[in-house]
Every structure is written in C-alpha cells, then in structure tokens.
Point group: C2
C-alpha cells in the first residue's frame, strides 16, 4: 500500500517536473494569442509613458510610476507563450530565429526586463529627464529583439 | 505675465481633468483590443489556478500565489478600454448594456476585483480547499458580468 502511494507520488512529481511550458496552453494558437495579448497591453502602458516623455501628454509622475510598474509585471509574462512550433513567416510576427537562437532571445528578454526595472526606479525619481532616459533604454531593448526575432 | 501663467496653468489642469478615458487610445479599435487582450491574459492566469483546483494540474502553492497576484494586477486594467462607441452586437462581445447600465457594470468590475483580492489571500493560506472556494467566487463574479454585459 505504501509502495503504491510512493509510485503515485513519484508519477505526479515526474509529471510536474517534465511539464513543458506548452502544457499551460491547450493549443499552440492559445500560446500565440497569450504572448501577443501580453505584448499589446505592455506596449500600451509603455506608450502612455512615451506620450509623457515625448510631450504628447502632460507629465503625471504618479501615473508614470503606475504605468512603469504595470509594464514590469507584464514584462515577465509573454515569454512562456513562445512555445515550440509557433514560428511564423508573416511580417511583424515571431520568426524561426526565436527558437534557433533561443539563448539570444532569452537574453534579449532579460535585458528588457532589467531596463524595465530601471524604468520603475526612474519613474520614482519624479524627474522627467531621468524618466525620458530610462524610457529610451527600454525602447532600445524592445527594438533589439524586434529587429532580430520578428519578421521584417 | 503672472496672469498669463495662471491662465496657462488652469488650461493644463482643465485638459488633464477633462481628459476622457478614450484619450489614452489613438483609435476606438485600440481600446477594444486593449480590453480584450487584458481579459485574455487575465483569464489565462485565472485558468491556471482553475486547473489546480479542478485537479487537471498538480497543486503548486507558490504558482497559485503568483498566478493570483498576476490576476490581481490584470483585473484593474481592462475597464479603461470600455470607451464610448465600442458596443457590439456580435456574440461574445460587449453589448450596449455596458454603457446604458454603466453603474451596474462598474459595480460588477469592482465585485470581481474584490473577489480577486480574496483569491490572493486564499492562495497564500496554502490550503487547496480555501483556494477552491475563492476561485469559485471569482468565477461567479466573472460570470455575473458576462451574463449581463456580453452578447449571448
């Protein structure tokens, strides 16, 4: 009886350990929609800071902090959606390079997350020039990956 | 000179105060895509907790907390996207009731956010039954609005 429980426990553990990232999505299309949705919402909140630093919206220090913090949460999410077999040849979509150069892609994601952490800190200084500089660095990190891993 | 500055300051303030929610979106379609994207990502993370409480995935207390906290951030976002003039008659999309009964809709959103806050607390108890109960209450709050404000 104890042995059977142990076997069951090991089976559960093995399933948990070997659970691929894809397992959280029922279909590959869900993973694609998940990452695209997350990126869209993240871009929206990043863009609200962009409007402030580019003078298209009044500078609102509290809103900048809130938006930067929202970006920081969203920045951690989409990468789970880059599951195998979801490359595209369509313009603006993820290219096969995401998977053939996955370490570079992951490093790019990490770089973006690091710059976003700095953006949150910059927003909290309540200094528009500091915010603007940090915004630019995040933008570069975004562009770096988009240039290399998105079909042009 | 001082008077002109005062006038300018008042103008800026008035612009900020009267800035409609729509102003953060360039086009109504962007607002619709924003709210749909946010809801999709939120549903995904809520669904990961659902898989645990319904026995389709192993119970992982830390992951449950992380997912609940992610839902809590996402739960605050989509409602800014319900801008005027974006009702639909299509099945599964937002009906005109969102705008004709806006106070009820906003109360429904608040109810969901309150239940999500309880979900976070429940996840932190590390008790699957407690999590399951809180999950059910959030689900009811979701369904309440979907039944009343989404085309059937």
């Amino acid at each position: 009886m104890m042995k059977r429980s142990t076997v069951a426990a090991v089976a559960v553990l093995a399933a948990a350990v070997s659970l691929p990232a894809a397992a959280q999505f029922q279909k590959p299309e869900d993973a694609v929609k998940y990452r695209q949705s997350g990126m869209f919402v993240m871009a929206d909140h990043f863009g609200r800071i962009g409007a402030m630093v580019n003078g298209r919206a009044p500078y609102d220090a509290a809103a900048a902090v809130k938006n930067a913090e929202t970006v920081a949460v969203l920045a951690t999410l989409p990468f789970a959606g880059f599951v195998e077999g979801t490359a595209s040849t369509e313009k603006g979509k993820s290219s096969a390079a995401v998977w053939s150069k996955r370490a570079d892609f992951d490093a790019g994601a990490k770089k973006m997350q690091d710059e976003v952490a700095k953006l949150v800190a910059a927003a909290k200084t309540n200094n528009l020039d500091t915010l603007k500089a940090a915004f630019g660095e995040v933008g570069k990190a975004c562009k770096g990956c988009h240039d290399n891993f998105r079909n042009q």
